[in-house]
Symmetry: C2
């Protein structure tokens, strides 16, 4: 008999409603009960997954649903990888939902990482103007970041996530046990986003990470559970202030300006997102020092924390800092012509700055 006693719950409170994030071990088997708890009663459901995740967890999820009286109206699997977030796959989901005659009561269940959550969430947001949506993130990055906050999207030739919506899930079920099936390097990359929340606004979390780096690297369940819970609490608090991404939510991009540029320079598969974000956070802290905002020890403390988790902390030697700046120029976030940076001013505090010069970026990204 499974127990909920070790499951933790984060309530996301938004102007339009609230929903729970459940974080614990062996939760997939309890999906039907979790659905019932948010008013999604037995009936037809759509499952969207990637083929790698579905091969490991798909059978158990479907069996649990069916034995609880749910009907798998449609189950769609896509190849893993960013290329899955395409219009073609969006249309394939619409066709599948239409063929299954889904009505507006049928929930769409996203079983996988951020790619699956973004794609299926956008399909759920727009099919019949909105189906209930449930995130079942199976990567650490999705559990601490992409499954929280309601952003869903597909990619366009002109930009990542260019076409999307805000569609809050009815439930997020973050099963820590699924992280055990991830390649360790994937899990470690996800820890960069946890570290980001510490640098952003929680010095206590930052210290906890550095003192539990070994357990986190090793994938120890209770450490991961705490990391996911605290990350979800922080992200959902920021999202609650700014659901539509008009202001405050921008701070969540700490480390992402340089990070995205590194990803662009190295190309798909050249570096993991979290690894690039770790490097970007260090660069942002160095920019803060150069601006006179940030104590000189902050970059080194972030470097030490990143390295303790097994994350890189400096721009790969193969990248010319000047070409990074050119890449940043093309980033959609600076189309208005100014380089906007989220700058840590201490461990646990940030400022948004519009006065960062290209020279400062080059210096911060150098060795």
């Amino acid at each position: 008999m499974v127990s909920w006693s070790d499951t933790r719950r984060v309530d996301v409170q938004l102007p339009g409603g609230r929903y729970p994030i459940l974080v614990g071990s062996d939760l997939l088997a309890r999906l039907p009960a979790a659905l019932e708890s948010v008013g999604l009663h037995p009936g037809p459901v759509a499952i969207v997954s990637d083929s790698a995740v579905a091969a490991i967890h798909g059978g158990a999820v479907e069996a649990a649903l069916v034995s609880a009286g749910f009907r798998i109206a449609t189950s769609t699997r896509f190849p893993p990888g960013e290329a899955t977030k395409s219009f073609d796959n969006l249309l394939a989901l619409f066709d599948a939902f239409a063929a299954a005659s889904l009505d507006r009561t049928a929930p769409v269940l996203a079983l996988g990482g951020g790619v699956i959550g973004d794609l299926s969430g956008f399909a759920a947001a727009t099919f019949k103007r909105g189906l209930p949506f449930v995130q079942i993130p199976t990567t650490l990055l999705a559990q601490v970041d992409s499954a929280v906050g309601g952003k869903v999207a597909v990619n366009h030739a002109a930009g990542k996530n260019l076409i999307g919506a805000f569609h809050q899930p009815r439930l997020v079920l973050a099963d820590i046990t699924t992280l055990g099936t991830l390649p360790p390097a994937e899990r470690i990359a996800g820890l960069a986003e946890v570290l980001k929340y510490g640098v952003l606004c929680d010095a206590e979390l930052f210290e906890w990470i550095t003192s539990h780096a070994g357990a986190l690297r090793a994938g120890e369940s209770s450490a991961l559970q705490h990391a996911v819970v605290r990350s979800c609490e922080i992200k959902s608090a920021v999202v609650a202030e700014d659901e539509r991404d008009l202001g405050r939510r921008a701070i969540l991009n700490l480390g992402h300006t340089v990070g995205h540029a590194i990803e662009n320079e190295l190309g798909y598969g050249g570096i993991r997102h979290g690894e690039a974000v770790a490097i970007g956070m260090v660069a942002a802290a160095r920019i803060g020092v150069a601006l006179g905002l940030t104590p000189a020890d902050v970059p080194d403390r972030i470097v030490a924390a990143a390295r303790s988790l097994g994350l890189p902390a400096s721009v790969p030697a193969s990248i010319d800092p000047a070409s990074l700046v050119a890449s940043i120029r093309q980033d959609k976030k600076i189309q208005a012509g100014r380089l906007r940076f989220i700058v840590p001013t201490a461990i646990g505090a940030v400022e948004v700055r519009d006065d960062v010069t290209e020279e400062q970026i080059v210096a911060a990204c150098g060795s």
Copy 2:
């Protein structure tokens, strides 16, 4: 010098905000001032129109915008007709918006009828997760119905409006003068939706329509302005109670169950939407009489009002009522297996009924 003194304003109040509907004559030239009044200041804009409307009004709109300091970042024209609400055209708009580097401050202006509003509104809802949207409806049907309420969509092989969103405009500019360029039969078809609001919930409007039928048929400006204002007031009040179409908003489908079936039977171009709705309202009232809900004179009063406007009131003789029922069965609104009807119980009152039998529908649609 234009004056706003003859322009009327309807404020739509929704949980997420409010926006004005401006109804008056010669408003297109005042579009820049209207944009400024809702905080959309000079800068890049996207215009979406159909080729017929653009040929008449496009030049004046663009000239007014440019002379007020706005920049036409992109202007896209589609062929008139329902086929324009396609995924291909949606992707064409995304490409155009991306090529113009629209950011989240740039409004999308829909200049045309319901097809243009629905298509461009859905593009605005989803490009970068939401651009400001402005409806400039140039048909009576769009001014009294589709431009009000925030529903935007494209069609899918499996159903009309199957893929869409709720995306409220920042402004609706209903220029009565544009109705003068419509074929009279188009304008008269739009009057069916005005009559619908009277039957739904406003006996006074119903009586006003019957006593001003001549002016309305002739396209007299002040009569049309009153009809548009009162329609927008009623629709926006219903939408304010149920923005997401979970309950009350269903009453707006009065006349549409039989109406859609007639449209399906006659095929594209076989009958105008408003004409079919007029016939559907009469059938719904007859069903009310058969259910014992509705005084026996109500169907005849609706027939008389429809005919006074130049609208049809009975199912075309070419349609077998039994095949209408089969068509209704396939309508998405009855996928749950029951025939849901909005039934007038008097002039100015309706009930939603789930107990209508096929025999009653056949009888109500017979001659």
